[in-house]
């Protein structure tokens, strides 16, 4: 098939599936494969004021499933420190942005992430009141983000720039997973069916919806300031391995220290089973998300739905005055 023929086919297909397919096809026909943005998925970003009351949320907020509860609870341990770090790094990246719309997006992203960090931070005293003090673990997470991934007193110049780019790329990789999880939680109907606590679900879905809403920003910033494919792969490997490692430690820490559980252990088998039941993301979907991010034509706007996120945000009790749902 000649190239002209291929594009004729493309045009025919694009006529049937207007917006999204055309983007893929444009990307396919470019010789060096480039990330293909779905333009219709862009939206103005703005931090929302939220309010959640934890008075009535039980320790095992997903009834009868401490493992899934704690697997999701690890978010509250990783996110406050992690998102404060995003804000810190992106504020340093702001002067490198030469595109007004991207700058506005990054600033909206910073605002949203700062509110996320504070909202999850508020869950930690609640856990402590229920006899599960997460401090030994969060102090380590704080060390990872404040020291290990901090500014490291580098001299101005190439070393400092390299480290900033490396961290921006790492955030883009992490945001791939936050968007993946955000999309998952918005569609995790099984949690509703099992009677999960409505305030906790609202916190997670508000957060998930904003992650879906701003899922392209970190990747766009990375493309704008660097965009190298080797850096993308390298930082993905670091971020993915660190996330898995930190996460399993967090779950094991929670299961070991839960005052209501005796001799409970976390295991990979439980994770796979919970994924099949739909109370956690399925292992298959997680594995599939790896080649997605590593594809040269990947752009976050191809995944998830901004419309679904916007619909949830419009109805979220926590993001609309804070009444208990």
């Amino acid at each position: 098939m000649t190239r002209e023929n291929a594009c004729g086919l493309c045009a025919a297909v694009a006529g049937v599936f207007p917006s999204r397919t055309r983007q893929y096809i444009d990307a396919m026909s470019n010789k060096p494969l480039a990330p293909a943005r779905v333009a219709s998925e862009h939206t103005e970003l703005k931090a929302r004021n939220v309010s959640f009351g934890w008075e009535d949320t039980p320790l095992h907020w997903l009834p009868g499933d401490p493992f899934a509860t704690h697997t999701i609870n690890v978010l509250h341990l990783l996110l406050p420190a992690g998102e404060r770090w995003f804000v810190h790094v992106f504020k340093q990246a702001l002067p490198h942005i030469r595109d007004e719309r991207l700058r506005a997006d990054v600033i909206g992203f910073i605002g949203q992430e700062a509110v996320h960090a504070a909202a999850h931070d508020d869950v930690l005293p609640h856990l402590r009141r229920q006899g599960l003090d997460p401090t030994p673990y969060t102090a380590q997470v704080d060390w990872v983000f404040e020291r290990l991934l901090g500014d490291r007193a580098l001299p101005p110049g190439r070393a400092r720039h390299w480290w900033l780019m490396e961290r921006v790329a790492m955030i883009a990789a992490i945001e791939h997973y936050t968007a993946f999880l955000g999309d998952w939680i918005l569609n995790a109907d099984e949690l509703d069916r099992r009677g999960a606590d409505p305030v906790m679900l609202d916190l997670l879905r508000w957060h998930g919806a904003e992650e879906v809403e701003h899922r392209s920003v970190a990747f766009d910033l990375f493309l704008h300031v660097d965009g190298g494919y080797r850096r993308r792969v390298r930082t993905w490997a670091t971020a993915f391995a660190s996330l898995v490692w930190l996460w399993q430690r967090g779950v094991r820490f929670f299961m070991d220290n839960d005052p209501e559980l005796v001799g409970a252990k976390a295991s990979l088998g439980q994770f796979v089973r919970a994924g099949r039941q739909g109370v956690l993301p399925s292992t298959g979907a997680m594995l599939k998300s790896i080649p997605t991010y590593l594809s040269r034509t990947y752009h976050p706007s191809q995944e998830g739905s901004t419309a679904q996120a916007a619909a949830y945000l419009a109805s979220s009790p926590g993001a609309n005055g804070g009444a208990r749902p």
């Binding site: 008075e55 700058r103 931070d121 380590q140 005055g321 804070g322 009444a323």
Partner: protein, 356 residues
């Protein structure tokens, strides 16, 4: 043969290492990551209290009284105020006017300011019984100091911090006089409570109600001249009242004032001030009707901000000098000591120096 030996040696070493690692991890499950000595996550002092609106009444024309209930409300002393985080994101300060002994409940009273900046309008129109409000813990910049005799002067809704002071003075057996001015009796809240307090103290003349439509402006000079020597004077009301009390007082060092904060009176308006941007060596004037953020962005258009309402923290900047009138619901006391949110907070005096 040697290959088999080598393989066995390696396998043995791996087994030994694995057992050592397991033993080490089971001794302290969170090994081998270092930890931050002073953890940050989850250790911010509790910034916000949540309270349910237990009742909403109108004790006078244009005044709404809210009773807020929650088991977690901290203690407070007369003269204290709370920052109320309204659902729209506005933050407003209101004096507590209930009884400090009534733990678990706060009472605030809010007068509708027609041409204000929207805070009182929101309280009047949008807050209903059963709703939930967020507050920051009470602070007191108008504390009642011990004295044998007090002269209290209230102008209009300025009665709110003075009402608990009257109770405290009466309970302590101190001598007190309250002059309470307002536009008309119908617009002046808490008159029955005050009359009852004066009556139970056996001194009905301790309460002097001066509605402007019946008796004109109060004679402050006569009141203050008749006060016992050494009496402490507490006054709360609009700026002209505060100025008149200071002018009429025989000893201004015995006067304690709470002017209506611009945020809660709205109509009084914000004062202009100057911001020095030390790193860039520039100075900007912030006009009365604009935010510090807007003024700074004229000089430095890249200054980041997002929510514009004081809750996201994107516009936080370090303050090098000058007292700040903090109006955000986000920063902790420690953070407020050396930084501010440009989008809502202003200078308490004429000048601020920022690290920008």
């Amino acid at each position: 043969m040697t290959r088999a030996l080598k393989a066995a040696a390696v396998a043995g070493a791996v087994l030994v290492a694995r057992r050592a690692l397991r033993a080490r991890i089971s001794r302290s499950p969170l090994w081998p990551l270092p930890a931050l000595a002073e953890p940050v996550s989850g250790h911010a002092p509790r910034r916000r209290l949540r309270a349910r609106i237990a009742s909403r009444t109108e004790p006078a024309q244009g005044v709404v009284r809210l009773v807020l209930e929650s088991p977690e409300l901290p203690e407070w002393t007369p003269g204290a105020h709370v920052d109320v985080l309204l659902p729209s994101g506005l933050v407003r300060q209101y004096s507590l006017c209930g009884d400090p002994a009534d733990r678990g409940r706060y009472t605030i009273a809010v007068r509708l300011v027609e041409d204000g900046r929207g805070g009182s309008r929101e309280v009047h129109d949008r807050l209903a019984e059963g709703g939930v409000l967020e507050l920051r813990p009470p602070r007191n910049r108008f504390a009642l100091e011990p004295a044998a005799s007090y002269v209290l002067v209230a102008g209009g809704i300025g009665i709110t911090p003075l009402l608990p002071m009257v109770r405290a003075a009466a309970a302590a057996g101190a001598d007190w006089t309250l002059l309470y001015g307002g536009r008309s009796r119908a617009t002046m809240p808490f008159l029955p409570e005050l009359a009852a307090l004066a009556a139970s103290a056996g001194r009905p003349d301790a309460l002097r109600v001066v509605p402007e439509d019946e008796a004109g402006l109060p004679d402050l000079a006569a009141l203050l001249a008749a006060a016992a020597p050494g009496a402490l004077v507490y006054a709360c009301g609009p700026e002209p009242l505060a100025a008149a009390v200071l002018a009429a007082a025989p000893d201004p060092s015995r006067v304690r004032l709470e002017r209506f904060a611009p945020a809660s009176s709205g109509g009084a308006g914000d004062r202009p001030f100057t911001v020095e941007l030390r790193r860039s060596g520039r100075t900007v004037e912030v006009a009365a009707g604009e935010t510090a953020l807007a003024a700074v962005r004229r000089e430095l258009p890249d200054t980041p901000y997002s929510c514009g309402q004081g809750f996201c923290g994107t516009c936080r900047q370090r303050v090098l000098a000058g007292p700040v009138d903090h109006r955000d619901g986000l920063l902790t006391d420690a953070e407020q000591a050396d930084s501010m949110l440009l989008c809502v907070s202003r200078a308490r005096e004429e000048r601020l120096v920022l690290d920008l």
